[in-house]
């Protein structure tokens, strides 16, 4: 059983499109995150949610909108995709707050 699963694994799309990435965790964790790894390999936090409540929004453009329908799911919707959005996006979860994070396998987003 995959602990943190995110779909799709690869996403290739045109500039200006809207896309979503889904994430689910079956660990019973309270906190979920979205991280972005850019071309320079920086792994930067974008959002964190605790029990469906937004805790961190790390100066991400408002084209990015996370949605947490329940504490096991944290989806990421991106509007009007730009070339600079190309990156690997990782979902993660933790029991309570940041520490030992469990990561999904990543979504490679390529905007053409």
């Amino acid at each position: 059983d995959t602990a943190v699963s995110q779909t799709p694994k690869y996403l290739v799309t045109q500039m200006g499109n809207d896309k979503s990435i889904k994430c689910e965790q079956n660990l019973g964790h309270d906190t979920m995150y979205w991280y972005k790894q850019d071309s320079k390999k920086f792994l930067k936090i974008m959002f964190s949610y605790n029990n469906k409540e937004l805790i961190i929004n790390e100066t991400v453009p408002n084209r990015f909108s996370p949605k947490s329908p329940d504490k096991a799911h944290l989806n990421l919707h991106i509007n009007s995709l730009e070339l600079g959005d190309s990156a690997v996006y990782f979902c993660a979860s933790s029991r309570q707050g940041p520490g030992k994070l469990f990561f999904g396998s990543g979504t490679q987003l390529s905007v053409l």
């Binding site: 920086f42 792994l43 964190s48 940041p98 520490g99 030992k100 994070l101 990561f103 396998s105 990543g106």
Partner: protein, 112 residues
């Protein structure tokens, strides 16, 4: 502002020898440090951690050392095995406990 730095992008070590991966940080408010290991096409996985009240933590072949005065930590792997070949990320958590800040990673290659 890169608060967690891994200045060596890559390291090559002979199987059976010691691997030493280094990490420097600038924020004196960091109170908890972690190492993650990442294989290609997978998410990072937690390896070992250390609290700022300690200077050493050991788990099998992996030992993390923390030098608070130098704002430096290191991960020692001994003996190194080919399966240890991966990218290793250092991460730090601030005393506010709201997020992890990651380094850019060091790619370790263990030669048979």
């Amino acid at each position: 502002d890169q608060q967690v730095k891994q200045n060596s992008p890559s390291l090559s070590v002979q199987e059976g020898r010691i691997s030493i991966l280094n990490c420097d940080y600038t924020n004196s408010m960091f109170d908890y440090f972690l190492w993650y290991k990442k294989y290609p096409a997978e998410g990072p996985t937690f390896l070992i951690s250390i609290s700022s009240i300690k200077d050493k933590n050991e788990d099998g072949r992996f030992t993390v050392f923390l030098n608070k005065s130098a704002k430096h930590l290191s991960l020692h792997i001994v003996p190194s095995q080919p399966g240890d070949s991966a990218v290793y990320f250092c991460a730090a958590r601030g005393s506010s406990g709201d997020k992890l800040t990651f380094g850019t990673g060091t790619r370790l290659a263990v030669r048979p």
